[in-house]
Structures are given as C-alpha cells and as structure tokens.
C-alpha cells in the first residue's frame, strides 16, 4: 500500500476538533481511550450519505437503495481487508464493542452447559465482565479470572493452570484501556486452542494502535468500536470465523436476518445478515469504512511508533514527580499513562487540567475490579492518538505541575 511519509502536523490538519480552543486555550485532547476525534473525510462521508445517498439497504429495487447497499457492503469489505478476515461474511456490524461481546455471550453462549468455564482477566473493562456474568447466571457456567501482577501484566503461569477441557472461551482485552498493557495474545490464543477453547479478543483499544491481522492472530472473535478508531459512534464490528458463526444461533430476530418467515417457523438469512436484525446503522457503517480507508492512507507502523514514543516520553517525565504513581508499568504497553497522586483526588486533577484546556479522563475507567486490585478509587488517565505531540505533553506536564501546586499548597 502507498503511504505518504508519517507526519503528525499533516495528520492533525484532517481533524477539525483539534483546531479549537477551550477556555481560551488550544485544546489538548488526551482522552483518546474514551473516543477518538474524527477526520474531515469521515464527517464528509456522513454528511454526503444523509444528504444524497440516504435509503434503506437490501431488497430495495430503486436506484438510491442500491447505491446505499453497495456503499454499506463496500464498507464491510474495507474492514474485512483491513483486519485480514477471510471474507465479508465474517464481518458483522454491531452497535459497538460492547454489543459485539453481548452478541457472542448470547449466541455462542447459548450452547454452553453448567460447569463450562469462561476465562477473562483481572484487567477487563466492565463490558467484558458483565455479559459473561449474565451468561453464567443463565447457564450455570463458571467465570474465572486470570490474575495480574502489580505492574499490570498477566500471570501467564496461573493462566496455564486455569486452562482445562472445561474452558470453553477465553475472552480477553488486547490492550488494557486503563493500564495500556499489550497482552501477549498470540501466545494466549495458541494455548487456549490447545484445550479446545475459543478466543474472543476485545480489540476496542488495539484496532487504532496496532496492525491487526485476525488470520495471523488466529483469534475466533475480534470486537471493536467504530468511534475509537476515528469513525462514528453507534457502530462497531464483530469479526468471527465463518465456520464458527455458521454454527451459532441468531442473537436478535427481526427484518434483514431472515430468509423466510411463516407463523409456524422462520428460516434465517446467511452470514453476515443472520446477525444484523433490523435496519442497521447504515451511515455509521459507511462512515467507519471511510475511517478505515483513511487509516489505509497512513503509515500505521510509523503511527504506532510515534504513539509508543509519546507514551514513553510522558511516562518518563511523570515518573520523576514526587508522590505520583504510574498505574500500569507493563514492559509492553502503549498509548495510555494512568496515574494517581498522593493526597490528591483524580477528579480535582482532571477538573484543573480541563480548565487549562487539557482533556483527560478520571475515575475507574469502567474497570472497577482493577481499581479494587490496586486499592485506589480511580486514576487520572492520559491516552494518546497518532495526532498528539510531545509539545502537547510538555504543556500537559506544566499544567499538571500547576494543578498539583494549587491542590497541595
């Protein structure tokens, strides 16, 4: 693929949100773990879709419907190619990563039996905990949690001991939204497969930072949200291996997902539509397709190196602050620096940074069990994207120093 050389300043020009001031200060957006900003091309795609391409897809005989259907299906193929899936039938459009995980929990989970085990880790987001708890309540399955070290790395020995023929699914976060840890997923997947378990990778924080090749990873499911990868909100993706998706029952019933309906019984549409009941988020899917195309124009390897450099740079400076504790010091981590400061509440830090034009996230980041593990109420989290700069980190550090002065004096 042809890329122009990686240039942060060139990339920034694509993002109108980054050009604004808040409270009279240039916005520094370090809340990318929550959601990313959108490039102009995605905004244009959405506007154009609603302005002149809007029609309901599939089954329409008229011109617009056919246009919209082609655009929707083209987006699916763009995503399929980007993550290296075998075919478009392996790409299911959902509302987001949470919806994707719930789909798997309900559909794949339907076949599970009492005593079957689902393995997650201690660093999961609530969206990769609660769907499995609900499943365990319905089916009498057992949820087991792989422990982590204080540094924020998985205990691989414990993981191996937990694997058995009872393990039916390993559902694990690829990159931790709170710690930034990049889990050694290839190794985990291979080991889980050895006992016959399937593996779901929660890619909500990895699709925007790493080159993803689902075939190479050999994961059975991969989930992500559009809005964290420069696309619209309300759209997400579930990748699943075709042969596995084929065996799974539908998750929701409705239009589009059926082949034939009678009052006696209905037969279901083929993949991927079997899992896309009702009118989907057409604009969202097309918008996500355009976000992914935008990424294809960027040297993502260089972008990942830049994000890693930002992470190391910020962590290196913050590490020298007295009373500041970095939460998540895994050897292999990226794009997230979470921290606490003695005697200072994350909410106070976040509020003062906000007034200086800096957007960070404070709180438990939807990982309450992880906060319990560290025995903290929450952290301040700066999370980076490829459009952030070292200069922004310098400004952030100065603003943090000022905030600490005010709070500490």
């Amino acid at each position: 693929m042809e890329h122009t050389p990686f240039s942060v300043s060139a990339i920034r020009e694509h993002f109108p949100a980054l050009q604004q001031k808040v409270y009279g200060k240039p916005l520094i957006y370090f809340d990318n773990g929550a959601t990313s900003q959108k490039p102009q091309v995605v905004l244009d795609t959405l506007a154009k879709y609603y302005a002149i391409e809007n029609a309901n897809i599939h089954r329409g005989v008229h011109y617009l419907s056919q246009q919209a259907t082609s655009a929707y299906e083209a987006a699916r193929r763009t995503i399929q190619q980007y993550i290296g899936a075998k075919g478009p039938e392996e790409i299911i459009f959902t509302k987001g990563a949470t919806d994707s995980i719930n789909l798997v929990a309900f559909s794949f989970g339907e076949r599970l039996k009492p005593g079957d085990e689902i393995l997650i880790s201690a660093m999961e987001h609530h969206s990769n905990i609660v769907p499995w708890q609900l499943l365990c309540e319905r089916k009498g399955c057992v949820l087991r949690v792989i422990p982590i070290s204080k540094k924020g790395e998985l205990d691989l020995e414990a993981f191996e001991q937990m694997l058995s023929e009872r393990t039916k699914l390993l559902s694990i976060i690829h990159i931790s939204n709170t710690l930034g840890t990049i889990n050694p997923v290839k190794e985990l997947i291979a080991k889980a497969h050895k006992v016959g378990a399937k593996v779901l990778l929660d890619g909500a924080q990895s699709i925007q930072h790493l080159a993803i090749d689902v075939k190479d990873l050999n994961c059975d499911f991969y989930t992500f949200s559009g809005h964290k990868v420069y696309g619209p909100t309300g759209i997400g993706v579930l990748y699943g291996k075709e042969e596995l998706l084929e065996t799974m029952p539908p998750y929701q019933g409705g239009g589009d997902m059926i082949a034939k309906v009678t009052f006696e019984r209905s037969t279901y549409n083929s993949l991927p539509l079997k899992f896309e009941a009702g009118t989907p988020h057409i604009a969202g899917a097309i918008g996500l397709g355009s976000a992914i195309s935008f990424l294809q124009s960027i040297d993502m390897q260089a972008a990942a190196a830049h994000e890693l450099e930002l992470t190391k740079y910020a962590q290196g400076i913050l590490d020298t602050f007295e009373g500041l504790h970095i939460i998540g010091e895994a050897k292999n981590k990226t794009s997230v620096v979470s921290f606490t400061i003695d005697q200072m509440h994350p909410f106070d830090i976040g509020t003062l940074l906000d007034k200086q034009g800096i957007a960070v996230r404070t709180g438990h980041h939807c990982t309450q069990p992880l906060m319990d593990f560290y025995q903290i109420p929450g952290t301040v989290r700066a999370s980076f994207a490829f459009y952030n700069t070292k200069e922004e980190i310098d400004t952030f550090v100065a603003a943090l120093e000022r905030s600490m002065q005010i709070l500490g004096s």
Binding site: H345, D348, T351, L352, K355, T362, R402, I406, L407
Partner: protein, 138 residues
C-alpha cells in the same frame, strides 16, 4: 442576611476572578477550610455516591433552622459544598425547600450541578431539600 443576599454575596466575591484557575484556586482554598466530617458521621446512610467523587451529608435541625455539615473526598467538590452549606445553613426548612440556587450558574459552576457530572453534588442538593421537606411534615 437572607438566602438571596447570601447568594448575591458569593456572586460578588467571584466577580473579581476572570481567570478560571483563580476561581478554582479560591474554591480549593474554601474546600480546605470546610471542617472535615468526623469519621463516625461518615456512615453509609450519609454517603452520596457519585461516579467521580463521594459526598457525605449530615443534617441537624436546631431552633427550627437547618444545619448541614458535609464532606467529600475531592477538594473541589468540598469547596462547592462549603458554598452550598453557607447558603442553606440557618435557614428555615421552608426557605430551603423553596430556594432557587441561582448563584451556582452565575459564578460559572453550573456544570458541577448538572446530572451528567456525577460528582454527588446534585444528589446532595436534592437530599438537602428532601431533609428539609421531611422536617416540615414531622
């Protein structure tokens, strides 16, 4: 001083700050000066859990007037608590129930009392009014 006058006094005090950081520095100083709630008063019943910060509220009625004391784990929240307590304390339950807290938006802190803020403050104001209302029905 009436509850309106107390609020106007706060608005006047804040008028001298045109920089956000100065305003917050003042709130933080205020937060540090609000007495800490005794640990035995920080019970589950008095806790108002917010997503971002927690608030504890203790209520007393002396001579027909409301007396609130409150605490928070976040100092900015505590500073705003200080302002709310100053406005409500020594007021009759009727006044508290009927009051309109116009000063909050006038000094630019409305965001802290918005339902989306989840810092416990909005729930605290609601509970202050509820407690005042209960005392009226007794």
């Amino acid at each position: 001083m009436s509850i309106q006058e107390k609020q106007q006094e706060i608005i006047d005090e804040f008028a001298i700050y045109d920089d956000w950081m100065d305003k917050y520095e003042y709130i933080i100083e205020l937060g540090k000066s609000v007495p800490t709630l005794a640990p035995e008063l920080k019970t589950k019943e008095r806790l108002i859990e917010g997503c971002q910060s927690n608030v504890w509220l203790a209520t007393e009625i002396k001579d027909g007037k409301m007396h609130f004391s409150a605490d928070s784990d976040a100092i900015i929240t505590k500073g705003i608590i200080g302002l709310l307590i100053h406005v409500y304390n020594n007021e009759s339950p009727e006044t508290v129930v009927q009051s309109d807290l116009f000063f909050i938006s006038q000094i630019g802190l409305a965001e802290h009392l918005s339902p989306t803020r989840a810092n416990g403050l909005l729930s605290m104001v609601k509970r202050m009014k509820t407690e005042a209302l209960h005392s009226l029905s007794k």
